[in-house]
């Protein structure tokens, strides 16, 4: 082994060992626990988990929310990114700053604001009843809607920012050229913008989807025990019932979804980019 290779190994060793022993090892032991009972290796923790209708509901709800948040964020995100990309450079800089700043603020603070807006005596209900649109306060808080709104606001910047940077890399005149040649807006979006910004969509989509699936703060504050998602269910099972079997199963599901989404979407992005 040459000198620089040895020096390189020595330099990466501390960080690598730290993560391997202090991080991956405990996680690995936890995950393997999901496949064990005192009697030995088994899948019965999983079959028990999915036999419970409440847990199944939480599982499907988590997916449903993840998918709808990602889809709505992508649609709204494209419209927003296109509008920002069209703005003059000065206001563009300001708009991008407005997208980045919320990312630096505590998710607890960001989510708590929705409690103030969506609650029974919150801003929205006060506004709606005072203009006479509703007589009774709307019950939004502790429903899937509240969690959806909270997640959308939390992850929207992570969807839009990669879209903006892919739009910036797109040649400026392809859209005017397509229009001159008579393409409809739908055709322009579907056949030009979408293929050319695929990478940004994949990055933003991964961050939003995995972020929503593994969110804790938003469902905890806005959903409570009525709208459990996988992470809030995990927390509840451990802190209320010491139920490590279900917790292990949820951990395996969460990590599998996170790794699978990351790997799959990375493949998708490079497969297209390679052509």
């Amino acid at each position: 082994m040459t000198n620089t290779r040895r020096a390189g190994l020595m330099l990466v060793a501390p960080a690598t060992l730290f993560i391997a022993i202090g991080f991956l090892l405990p996680v690995f032991v936890l995950l393997s626990g999901a496949f064990r009972l005192e009697s030995g290796w088994t899948l019965s923790n999983f079959t028990d988990f999915f036999a419970d209708p409440l847990y199944r509901e939480v599982f499907f709800r988590t997916f449903r929310l993840g998918l709808t948040v990602t889809a709505v964020a992508a649609l709204l995100g494209y419209a927003t990114a296109l509008a920002i990309n069209d703005a003059n450079p000065r206001s563009k800089g300001r708009l991008v700053a407005l997208l980045v700043l919320p990312l630096m603020i505590s998710p607890v603070a960001r989510t708590y604001a929705w409690l103030v807006i969506l609650g029974r005596t919150g801003f929205l209900n006060v506004a709606l009843t005072s203009v006479g649109l509703t007589d009774e306060p709307l019950r939004i808080l502790f429903t899937e809607w509240a969690v959806f709104i909270g997640l959308l606001q939390l992850f929207f910047p992570l969807m839009v920012l990669p879209l903006i940077s892919s739009l910036e890399n797109m040649p400026r005149d392809v859209i005017p050229a397509a229009r001159v040649l008579g393409a409809s807006w739908l055709a322009i979006f579907w056949r030009i913008i979408l293929p050319l910004t695929r990478e940004g969509l994949v990055v933003g989509g991964t961050l939003t989807f995995v972020g929503s699936l593994t969110a804790y703060v938003t469902p905890a504050i806005l959903g409570g025990s009525k709208v459990l998602m996988l992470e809030t269910l995990l927390y509840q099972r451990v802190s209320v019932a010491n139920d490590y079997a279900s917790a292990g199963v949820i951990a395996v599901i969460l990590i599998a979804m996170s790794v699978a989404t990351n790997v799959m979407l990375k493949r998708l992005a490079t497969a297209r980019g390679g052509r």
Binding site: G8, L9, L11, I19, A79, V108
Partner: protein
């Protein structure tokens, strides 16, 4: 089309930023419970935040944790980033994947794993596990941001220093390090903010009198429905904005994010 685009931007930005304005106003309420519009304006809940002892303790813990974990992550991450950029490290791809693993593993699993398989069997304190978990979480950021700054720096200025008689370490400390200083400071700020705002890793790592500030806020709001959390949220938002805007002005933080 232009007008539609502008209208959309106004709605989107209101959706993103509007809630902050509302929460700041709510935090300035003079009333007893959380409501909008607030019952008159006063600073009583802002003052109250500083009087709640558990918030003072958890703020101190989060501050120490944010600074400490980021520093350890940088001390471990800078050499790794340097080796990955400058040297031909055997198994570099595998090492890169390993070093980004903490971003992919959901935080709540990390917290639970550290609690069950480190804190409980070893009897080590929860605080130590917090430092461990946060450091692991921040190493990927430290490596990525430092590696990006190193890639933008010519490797031959270091060779020149060595040719002129500096040792390898001397060349790194006196030539390379000053040139990537801004990148490292940006990594520090990003790391600190990430740790300070982090919830899932810290969620299970609580004990009697030990909780990070965001976890403490979650625990507090389970039993209290007063404007103090709104006041504290507003203060934290202003604090983050202050840090980020200062960093942007001094370092151009956005180049590193």
């Amino acid at each position: 089309m232009r007008h539609a685009g502008r209208a959309l931007l106004v709605v989107v930005m209101l959706f993103l930023v509007g809630p902050f304005i509302l929460i700041c106003l709510t935090g300035l309420s003079g009333g007893e419970t959380l409501a909008f519009p607030p019952d008159g304006l006063s600073l009583r809940w802002v003052i109250r935040v500083f009087e709640i002892e558990s918030f003072r303790d958890s703020f101190a813990l989060s501050l120490t944790l944010g600074i400490g974990a980021t520093l350890i992550a940088l001390i471990l991450g800078i050499p790794a980033a340097y080796a990955l950029v400058r040297y031909d490290v055997p198994g570099a791809d595998a090492i890169r994947n390993l070093l980004t693993a903490p971003i992919i593993v959901p935080g709540i699993i990390v917290g639970l794993a550290l609690l069950r398989h480190l804190v409980i069997p070893s009897g080590l304190g929860v605080t130590l596990a917090l430092f461990l978990g946060h450091t692991a979480l921040l190493i990927p950021y430290a490596v990525r941001v430092t590696a990006a700054s190193l890639q933008n720096l010519r490797a031959d200025i270091e060779d020149a220093a060595i040719l002129l008689g500096a040792s390898r370490i001397g060349a790194f400390v006196r030539v390379t390090l000053p040139n990537i200083k801004n990148g490292i400071m940006a990594a520090f700020i990003i790391g600190f903010i990430t740790s300070f705002n982090e919830v899932p890793v810290s969620l299970f790592l609580t004990g009697p009198g030990v909780a990070t500030l965001p976890v403490d806020m979650l625990l507090y709001m389970e039993y209290n429905y007063d404007p103090s959390i709104a006041a504290l949220s507003g203060l934290l938002a202003l604090m983050s904005l202050g840090v980020v805007l200062t960093a942007e002005r001094l370092l151009g933080l956005s180049r590193y994010v």
